[in-house]
Amino acid sequence: MVGTPVLFIAIPLLAAFLIPLLGMIWKELVRIVPGLVLTYLLILAVNLLVHVLAHGPVVEVIAGWVPPIGINLVFSVFSGFLVTLMIFLGLLVWAYSYRFKRNVDYEPALKYFLMLMMLITGSVGIVLTGDIFNMFVFIEITSISGYGLTAFYKGRDSAEASFKYVLLGSVASTFLLLAIMIIYSQLGTLNMADIANKIHLMNPTLKIVSYIFFVTALGIEAEIFPLNGWAPDAYAEAPGPVGAAFAGIVVKASVYAIIRYTFTIFDLSGAFNFLIIIGMITLIVAETAAIRQEKLKRMLAYSSIGQMGLVLVAFGFGTEEGVFAALFLMLNHAIIKSLLFFSGSYLVYNSKCKYIKEVNGMSKFLPVTSLLFALGAFAIVGLPPFAGFWSKLSVMTAAADSNMILIMVLVLMVSVVELVYYLRVVNRIYFFKKETAIEPKKPTFNALVVMIVLGVIILAIGFYPDVVTGVLHKASASLMDKSQYIHHVLSLRQ
């Protein structure tokens, strides 16, 4: 046995609560322990993923109550791939912010790393769990640590951004619980595989009502268009690495939840078209909003929302190619957007308002950071030698296979808008003269290493996409095979 899925939840949760105690022994432990834990979990995740690729999904039963009564964790290729990606990103966020607030004082670092660990615990739990109420609990863990991280800085308007997030987040939790109770009152079970097995017995009206409640609730976390009012403010006011954590970890987990409900649990025929429509609206609105932004981090936030819309569109094709394209897009979005947040927050480090015009001429002062930002900008737009090209290409081929020519046209047009606003920033970095008297801040050694690692990964996937496509094909096959999921979970009942 190569380790069990429950460790991915138990170890970071334990570490999060041990951090304050360890900090009493030696203050540096507050910074070191999260890194050790995440490194261990990454090794575990890769091992388990290799095992799962060869032998099929691992289902963990908690406390000896076999499904459908107890809670179970499912580490399939699909969820395992996302867990590995999230923990890898968590490790990068930790390495980037290792020296964070080091010279200021001890307490903020303690709170920061504690909440970061809770955020990772919750997100990994959302992906692994096989029980809808358990998923609700993990969503709440993730959002409460998200509120805390958003309100991290005291000087800025972060409390306002965080309060906005709290408002939407608690309305989301009300709706989510309501949807869970509708399903429970109809089917008398909370286990996902069991629900998927019995869903045809449910009253069709109540089925649609609960699906809508689910999508509304999860859409708030996943930044779907009319519900994403919190996102730009939270990204702009939170510390830079937290923006990367939101884009790479929290949003991925929420999109996973929507996809799990749509593909596995519910059998609504119109749900796929619904995903395409909301995804398309999100994509168009977010990208046109991004072009109007004057602040760098808000622009990146809107771009992130748009990318999530595109992911939903790709999932909405409902074919295996579509799922493959969406997963590829999620992988690329996670690494490229993290690089943009990491390098972008150094480009506007010492400015108070973080305006885009303040990056003018930064290439002379921060050559490596500027180069990496430009690389990220080209990659996310989808220019050929970089990773983003392959994911956009696979979205296009998936759309063509499903005969969605209009979607192809719209996605390409939106890509042009994307190109415009990213090139505008890169243009300012390289070809404008520095006007304002803002002192550029040199990146720390850790931050530089993290950014270079991300840049190398983007180039590597760009030149050799085959290193990831094998896993992605297996992951999409594992999502599409609903009966296998149900069988694996329910066959534990002797």
Partner: protein, 127 residues
């Protein structure tokens, strides 16, 4: 289903719960004071908890607690109300408490920063 007054009272529980949820959402969306907004969130949570307990209840059910002689008398199992919603409510109450605490802490920070609780005057970030 019986049409006596008692029969309708069963549905009255659901109606009350939904009404409480709606009152809470109304408070969250319409009120201008940040404190009232937080109270609205808390009220809608309570309504939801009431609804969940009502879903698990049926008329004449007993509390789902093991007691001596429980297993011999098999009839008492079928007379128990569903324990799962009650366990869920317990979790939901704790989560609601946590969210309310975080929201109130943020209200204090907003008050210190802006000197007001009126939502219309706190608009550095374009609500």
């Amino acid at each position: 289903m019986d049409n006596t007054l008692f029969g309708y009272l069963n549905y009255a529980v659901y109606g009350t719960a939904v009404l409480v949820i709606l009152i809470g959402l109304y408070g969250t969306m319409v009120k201008k004071s940040l404190l009232k907004v937080v109270i609205g969130l808390s009220v809608s949570d309570s309504g939801l908890n009431l609804l969940i307990v009502a879903i698990g209840y049926y008329k004449g059910g007993t509390a789902p607690i093991f007691s001596p002689g429980f297993l011999e008398n098999f009839k008492s199992v079928s007379k128990m109300v569903d324990p799962v919603p009650q366990a869920l409510v317990l979790t939901a109450i704790v989560i609601g408490f946590g969210v309310t605490a975080v929201a109130l802490a943020l209200v204090i920070r907003l008050y210190r920063h802006h000197g007001t609780l009126n939502i219309d005057e706190i608009k550095n970030l374009k609500w």
